[in-house]
Point group: C2
Chain length 472, copies 2
């Protein structure tokens, strides 16, 4: 009954078509990009404007009902999952690009705008939105802000937080605030930086001002293949140490190559290689040429068997297609796939890759590595069948061991997918109770009742309680 | 008496030599780089370690005495000024470089390490600390963190916040926390980003882990001179629009040229020019050569009278000396100098420079512009004599008009000097009561009693009060 009453109130705000309460409808919202967890929300509401978002949150606030914001649902840490009594606030209807300002190189978008659509809108002005998650043809800018998303080209251009200038935010109370200022430099405590990457715990961004960057005048894509995974890892360090900043520097291991080459996305990678490196350079033609000469020397010097340079846009596209569709290709060999995410110091890459292979072997799991080698951001992928309880248990155990190995090597538990539900238990590996407590206290500034994306990111039982308010 | 008692307690922590209570001693701490304000603290304490900082803060906390952290005192917004009953916590003794880790490109330093000393320590490893405020031979990393300092080379490399990985912080309670994690990517709410730029309101960083970047293999410095200030401004936009990212892109106007050339730091700038642009390119030799060709074409195309390229390290040094010592040169023509700081969209530079000239003329003040043109970060400098009340009043009035003109052009009130005391009144020009209130609430997470650098940055009377804690 309470449900029916809530549904009716929300219907008055967004229209009855945009409140979903049927079991079958809710099933489509019960999972995101993390295949190991399912959660069914009390209902799903699809507001059509920032104003409607604010009214929806105010209504939920009055009733003390928690909520979870959801964009395209491509997230890989379970961040967009909501369990009843939580309500799912789905933002896909807020998909308008409100302004592109080429002179000052910025754009204003609603949170449901698809990442690739924004770059398409900027392209006629010679500009692009730089952060490019592999899911960029589906994922939304709002989700990118929540997760502080990365992508292959973030090695050179920086992750999402480096590209967000201003935010309009509906707080969990329904209050609407603007964070940052039009000049781009928020002064005083940096609330835009604090919000970006807060994984839905601070409220919902209803309008996002992003930085645009010039499209490079020249791009060169190179593929190097190695018969030793260790040598490929060493090549990464050699390139970065030489002071070259590639636009992207990606690695795929033997398993990944094999899966891509046996799929519809075959990119011509040598199937007998232990690893390939995909190196992209961009900039002015002469700068690219100079860096390309130096990069080839380093690749060959570190033992590359062949170094191939894409000679046309089509060939470049094809080399990238193998990388971008690798996850799809993995889908062919197993029902489910966990895309793990962790970071290690670049110099630790060779050792950690060997450790991960050993963990996979011990748990009898196929591990495939496709990742952003240039910034040490690993993605060991575990193929499995979630309906097999034993396999699922082995995936969980192997995931934990992989994360611990990365932390032990001086790394951290996630590079770009966020903590969400999946990494909640690992937070104490890298943060102490003091810092977790401070994070929780900052969160309560925005969300005093902990109603936004509850139960995620911060393992509350491990947080020290900070006295939040003067008693003087 | 209370003073004597406090001095005695602090002496037990840091040693009697390092507690300063005499009027004459305190006079040296009564001003910083902002000449328009003086404040005398109750006493000054100079701890010798992070542990001593923590004990000092705990002692002050027990007594309910506020404090202000101070590094080298080079700040330009009055951020390091403390007025009795506040105690000044001076960090110059914490000047150890604790580690340089070339493999992972990071260094760990105490807050009192001088900016230039860190780059000197990194140079033997082919690395540098990128943010380079003009005061870099004196200012400290701790102060740079507090103010989120910029500098000429931040156009390419990013400001301080992009280079801080991990912090050990003594909170105002005396509690010591570590923010961030060794992997560099703090996940969850970004406390390192929140602390950086918080202008001493959150506590004192006692240990700072910074990112180091490779020294460029080639550097090219060019000087272009213009007979029109507007044309020089347009050249800046032309270079950036072409997708070139200079390491630095600085502008000096006619007044600045004249002062430099009549000083001991004469750099050979043409004294009849309306403006000079100093463009520095860095990277690999071929990339630099390519960008240099393109840059020269753009400079000449926008009306440069001459374009000079430094042919040796000595000549480069000399071109930069004029820029870096410009503030010193200005010191020769007047007793005092206010170095203003504001940001405008690059495209607004020509109009805003004309508006600033008009404001200076109306208030009969000599205005000199020396600034980071590439990122629209203006520094209009006002020469005056602070002992002349009428001049001082005109400086205040002109400063306010300049800041308002920048905000009206879509800019903001400070680019790199911070808000401190000087810009406090301007915060409501760019932030509403909601956002100011949220900033204040975030600050109270770290400093519930508002004892750290009180009365700065946040105009509390204009802040909306946010309910900070669940009442549910």
């Amino acid at each position: 009954m309470e449900h029916a009453d809530l549904a009716e109130e929300l219907s008055r705000i967004v229209g009855p078509r945009f409140v979903r309460t049927e079991r079958a409808e809710l099933a489509t919202f019960a999972s995101d990009g993390l295949p190991t967890l399912r959660r069914t929300p009390a209902l799903a509401v699809l507001p059509g404007s920032g104003r409607e978002v604010s009214h929806v949150l105010a209504a939920l606030h009055r009733r003390g009902i928690p909520f979870v914001a959801r964009g395209a649902g491509t997230g890989l840490s379970g961040g967009a999952l909501g369990e009843a009594p939580a309500v799912l606030v789905t933002l896909t209807r807020l998909s308008r690009i409100l302004a592109v300002d080429p002179e000052n190189r910025r754009a204003v978008v609603e949170p449901g705008v698809v990442n690739a659509a924004l770059s398409r809108a900027a392209a006629p002005f010679g500009l692009m939105y730089a952060p490019d998650p592999s899911s960029q043809t589906a994922c939304t800018i709002g989700g990118n802000v929540a997760e502080n998303a990365g992508g292959p080209h973030c090695l050179k251009y920086g992750v999402t937080t480096n590209h967000i200038l201003e935010l309009e935010v509906a707080l969990p109370s329904g209050d609407v605030v603007r964070l940052g200022c039009p000049g781009g430099d928020a002064w005083g405590p940096d609330l835009v930086g604090t919000f970006t990457g807060s994984e839905g715990m601070f409220g919902i961004a209803t309008e996002i001002t992003v930085r645009l960057v010039p499209l490079p005048t020249d791009v060169r894509t190179m593929l190097a293949d190695y018969t030793s995974l260790r040598r490929a890892g060493e090549a990464v360090t050699a390139i970065i140490t030489a002071g070259i900043v590639p636009a992207a520097l990606e690695m795929m291991d033997h398993n990944a190559i094999e899966m891509v080459e046996s799929s519809a996305y075959a990119a011509g990678y040598p199937v007998d290689a232990a690893a390939v490196l995909l190196v992209e350079l961009d900039g002015s033609p002469a700068a690219v040429e100079a860096d390309a000469v130096a990069t080839r020397t380093l690749l060959e010097g570190s033992g590359a068997r062949t170094v191939r340079v894409a000679r046309s846009a089509a060939e470049r596209e094809k080399l990238w297609q193998g990388r971008k569709k690798a996850f799809g290709a993995m889908g062919r060999i197993s029902a489910d796939l966990v895309v793990q995410d962790a970071v290690v110091p670049r110099t630790a890459l060779p050792d950690v890759l060997e450790a991960i292979a050993a963990i996979g072997a011990r748990h009898r799991l196929r591990v495939t590595n496709v990742f952003h080698a240039g910034d040490g951001n690993l993605h060991p992928n575990l193929s499995f069948d979630a309906s097999d309880a034993d396999q699922l248990a082995r995936v969980h155990a192997a995931s934990g061991e992989i994360i611990r190995a990365c932390v032990a090597a001086g790394g951290t538990i996630t590079g770009e997918h966020g903590v969400g539900l999946d990494k909640l238990a690992y937070m104490p590996l890298v943060f102490g109770p003091d810092e977790l407590g401070l994070m929780a206290a900052v969160r309560r500034v925005f969300d005093p009742d902990e109603q936004a994306n509850p139960g995620k990111v911060l393992p509350t039982s491990q947080c020290r309680e900070w006295r939040p308010w003067s008693t003087a």
